[in-house]
Symmetry: C2
Subunit: 331 residues, 2 copies
Amino acid sequence: MKDTGFETLAEGKSQMFSELYSQHFDGIQFNEANTDAYEPIYYFLKTGGKRIRPLLVLLSCDAFGQQVNKALNPAFGIELFHNFTLIHDDIMDKAAIRRGRATLHQKYSEGTAILAGDFLLILAYRYLAKVDPEHLIAILETFNTAATQIIEGQVMDASFEKREFVNEEEYLEMIKYKTSVLLAASLKIGSIIGGASDMDQKNIYTFGINLGLSFQLKDDWLDVYGDKSLGKRIGGDILQNKKTYLFNKAYNLSNQAQRTHLANLVQSEDEDYKISQTIDIYDQVGVGAETERYMNVLYDQALESLDKVSISSEAKADLQYFAHRIYHREY
Amino acid sequence: MKDTGFETLAEGKSQMFSELYSQHFDGIQFNEANTDAYEPIYYFLKTGGKRIRPLLVLLSCDAFGQQVNKALNPAFGIELFHNFTLIHDDIMDKAAIRRGRATLHQKYSEGTAILAGDFLLILAYRYLAKVDPEHLIAILETFNTAATQIIEGQVMDASFEKREFVNEEEYLEMIKYKTSVLLAASLKIGSIIGGASDMDQKNIYTFGINLGLSFQLKDDWLDVYGDKSLGKRIGGDILQNKKTYLFNKAYNLSNQAQRTHLANLVQSEDEDYKISQTIDIYDQVGVGAETERYMNVLYDQALESLDKVSISSEAKADLQYFAHRIYHREY
């Protein structure tokens, strides 16, 4: 997709906004006297990340014809919020590594990581509020709704782990809350600052929801059917007994014998056996092809919603290009 | 103090606002479908608490002549924030009991308690934003500043625990951040909704700061010199090696022999010996009387700041009465 001049232009915009964002926030100092409180935050923010959400804010604001510098602070606020969720998730998952470096509770202590996450959530609100007063209420409302749903999604996710099986509808609701709403809220907040109509705000939000869903389904699919040459171990989710879209769908499509086998495999300690046998069942019931089909449907639905937004075709191309890169893991 | 008609009037106001607040929020339902996420929050909120902060919001709003129903939602937001800090503090302190019931991480799990705290912080912002748009920016700014300082205070407190000794200035800054600023912000937010001038906002804020400082110093003092008949064990802070105002002041006033003894007592496993010997040193250097003197100075300074606020003498009496009850632990 990179051979046409059209995509080069779109890539240029992502690149340009990415640099603008970095310029503003890479060397950020929160300007407070109490350095102890900020050190863990700087450590974590410097681990990087793909900065997908702030770029969505800026691209969306730009698409509606406003100067993106009006959206830089809320873009940063959303990235701070995203980092808050990662820090607290890592504590709950007892994860040791994030972005190739020690997680915060691992490097410091659990107490420090809890406080650092809390702090980022408060700082997120501080930066989010740095907008034109005329947009403050709408932005806070959009953000608060998303933040509430994200916590609800995390609670759902935790409760699913304890269950044998989750139905498709429940699973899609969980990943919508846990993953999609922050992408969608980023786009909507950018559009509010850009001066979008209610209908356009709604359509660009739906674009984000479906993009997020397709992204997460593909994530589940890549764990089993991804390119082994990328270095990530195939079947990591299976080893961790994650209730992925594939697992739930396979369970649903299985006959009694297959279900019993799947349930036994969850208990298995033999890693290679567990992975190969689970994938065997996935193949028997055809869950790989079914997931691939549905994630592409969702991706197409995302692009259809984007198409309905009344912005220039150049602006649409910028957002399409960014969606393409997210979906195809080029970010 | 309860014999004069004047105080009865003031008590009536606190009582009335307390009931108004309870009416609105005792049976609150956050109206969301995902009950799993809200259950731990309801459990914790139902453990009660003294509701000092929401009452300060309402009394302050009323003092400036505005209907207190305009301040009910932000008052609730501040109480939610306070409960968020308690839940996360309890995890970090590994506390088992809060308000006579199991702490949240004890009853559910640590992950659930982390998420419930996060959720309350987000809900705090939701309720705080339910105000007249004309006051939104000022209220958010006041609240964000307080929230930032509270986290900084908690980080200071945690780092002090690791040190042998903390000087008086550092200690006062820590308790100002950890305890006072939320009381002060409650009063200021009430005053903003009440339409107070900048100068009045500043004075009522200072009233809250000094009231909080005097409250905390008295808390430290009561641990050693409090009425044993109240059931609380004398010397609890000493047993937990807390760097209280008394400990730091005693360390500062001690000669070399006393300092060495104090440092050895920190390591002591004999509880009765540890408490009695530490109090002996406190008595030798006169730290009890000195703390009592200074906490009363701070309380008087609080009342002086209140006196400067341009509100009716009845409104002042309401706030004085409330301060009196807080300071004398009648709440």
